[in-house]
């Protein structure tokens, strides 16, 4: 019997395959395509203390081998999320990781405290890395002191395991990973999107209303693998790896680089079956290589 279970901060996942926050809603939209019971976890779209309208359109554009987005974290706020999205996810046998966003430390704490009594939220992922909102978010993720402070504050206000989601838009990812660990993070996830820009030369305009956007997709995968490798070697806490994962082979590459679990992000938009195909492909890989425990792969290179 092959073991595909992985454990992060005391939470055991049936397999290491999740999806990247913001690419899967709260699972509802993709439940038409895939059986959510097959996933290690559903990672929800970022949720704030109050509803956020997000950015003006156009919010998305295609780039070579990927896309840029500047959604701006449109979300219904924590109350609607707890009344609608968490009960929906209760119908499924999968772990739930709630992604939390905010403009100030107080915003984050309000959400985190509201979720403390929600049994369906197995873990919290703290988004300190969104490049598309002006206040908060990435400001916490690019300054080591701010990252340390917000991690400590959140840990002080919740008993749930906390994942800090890191941005690749920093000079030294290993240092940021270490800062999060030292401040008490139970795990880290990376990479969020890489800040990019596209210009429509026919119209002489920015392709996105926000001018800049976060790049995702297969084109960024080598950068993500490198950063997961560097971060996972700098810390003892588990790493959730993501950035351009499309197939089981990509997922295994991230695990070998040091990730305990992996997320499919933008490629859900291209192939709505990508998550479950990764689960099945990983099982076949383990079988083909005679590997009895998936944990053997983690950081094996």
């Amino acid at each position: 019997m092959i073991n595909t279970q992985v454990t992060i901060a005391g939470v055991t996942f049936k397999n290491p395959v999740m999806e990247g926050s913001g690419t899967f809603g709260s699972g509802m939209e993709y439940s038409e395509f895939v059986d959510l019971n097959r996933l290690g976890a559903v990672v929800t779209k970022g949720v704030a203390n109050v509803p956020w309208p997000g950015n003006p359109t156009p919010r998305v554009c295609e780039v070579y081998g990927g896309m840029l987005n500047a959604i701006g974290l449109q979300n219904p706020g924590i109350e609607v999320f707890c009344e609608r999205d968490l009960p929906f996810l209760s119908n499924y046998d999968t772990k739930v990781i709630v992604n939390v966003c905010g403009r100030s430390v107080e915003d984050y704490i309000e959400v985190v405290e509201r979720l403390s009594d929600e049994p369906r939220a197995d873990m919290l992922e703290i988004n300190v890395s969104c490049p598309n909102v002006k206040e908060g978010a990435i400001a916490f993720g690019t300054d080591p002191a701010a990252l340390s402070n917000i991690t400590k504050e959140i840990k002080a206000h919740t008993k749930k395991p906390v994942i800090m989601k890191l941005t690749p838009n920093v000079t030294n990812i290993a240092e940021m990973a270490k800062v999060a660990e030292d401040a008490g993070a139970d795990a880290i996830s990376l990479i969020n999107t890489i800040t990019g820009m596209k210009i429509d030369i026919e119209r002489r305009k920015f392709a996105l209303a926000n001018k800049t956007g976060g790049m995702s997709g297969p084109a960024i995968k080598p950068i993500a693998v490198r950063m997961v490798y560097q971060a996972s070697h700098a810390v003892k806490i588990p790493v959730i790896g993501m950035g351009g994962i499309a197939t089981a082979e990509d997922a295994i590459e991230f695990m070998m680089a040091g990730a305990t679990a992996v997320s499919v992000g933008m490629m859900n938009f291209v192939n709505p079956y990508a998550t479950v195909e990764c689960v099945e492909g990983i099982e076949k890989y383990l079988e083909r290589h005679g590997i009895e425990d998936i944990n053997e792969l983690i950081g094996c290179v």
Partner: protein
């Protein structure tokens, strides 16, 4: 049930410069209706996102769909080279489509409801399937289609289902000007409007409609097409059902909206 599926090209021809007519055999035809769209995938791994293209027709046997589209970039350029027998990967069926039952209630009960269909440019194709479905449902259809010039693709086909008028920007055919110029010039009466076309046209139609019901089909840059990414939103007058922030998702809450519900 939405799915990603491989269809087979039955035929493709050019209708006008840059305008192509693609017939695809696909299981998606079973559930497809006017106002909905499909995502069409390129075979180019550098151009990953499905291209949203509106449904121009559904075959009577519900086995194939017809897409009439304009070449606007490398994705649609690739599609224009598809030939009979080629595979084409689709995501669908997407979007809400027109609510025919609702349209049937919009007149007074003595005479058939009169639906005025307005299409502009590449907004013309989805109006064709709508004219067919409405006329089949017993609605009186009046079609007014607007073009740049005398490349009046699909116009003759509207005549099968509707009283048909035409406007052209250069005056080479029909009324010189836009579709609303043609509506005024011909003194066309109606109970409701259904429209698809460029944003300035839709804005003018929203204003023209006043308190009469108008349904407009919107377009926006999209990624997932299924309501997850929140990339394609439009400002709404009331709170939207998903995020409660007056930003509805065009791909799933639309693309067809009541004009009074959206702020464009």
């Amino acid at each position: 049930m939405k799915k990603k599926t491989v269809g087979k090209v039955l035929s493709q021809k050019s209708l006008a410069p840059g305008i192509y007519d693609l017939e695809i055999e696909t299981c998606l035809a079973q559930d497809a209706k006017a106002g909905q769209f499909v995502g069409v995938y390129t075979k180019d791994a550098s151009a990953l996102l499905p291209r949203p293209i509106s449904i121009c027709g559904v075959s009577d046997d519900k086995k194939s769909i017809r897409l009439v589209y304009r070449v606007a970039g490398k994705g649609t350029d690739e599609f224009s080279h598809l030939k009979e027998g080629d595979d084409v990967t689709l995501l669908g069926v997407l979007g809400n489509g027109y609510d025919i039952d609702r349209i049937k209630t919009l007149g007074n009960s003595d005479t058939p409801v009169r639906a005025l269909l307005l299409g502009g440019g590449i907004g013309v194709p989805p109006m064709l399937e709508l004219s067919k479905e409405l006329s089949t449902a017993g609605v009186k259809v009046i079609s007014v289609m607007g073009y740049r010039n005398n490349d009046t693709f699909l116009l003759d086909e509207f005549k099968k289902y509707s009283d048909t008028y035409v406007a052209s920007e250069d005056g080479s055919v029909g009324t010189k000007g836009n579709v609303l110029d043609a509506v005024r010039e011909n003194g066309i009466g109606f109970d409701c409007i259904c429209a698809c076309g460029p944003m300035p046209m839709l804005r003018a139609i929203k204003e023209f409609a006043g308190d009469r019901t108008a349904f407009i089909s919107l377009e926006e840059r999209m990624a997932c097409g299924v309501g997850a990414c929140l990339g394609c939103v439009v400002k709404t007058a009331k709170e939207d059902a998903h995020s409660h922030v007056n930003n509805a998702r065009i791909c799933t809450d639309g693309p067809v909206f009541e004009a009074s519900e959206v702020e464009i």
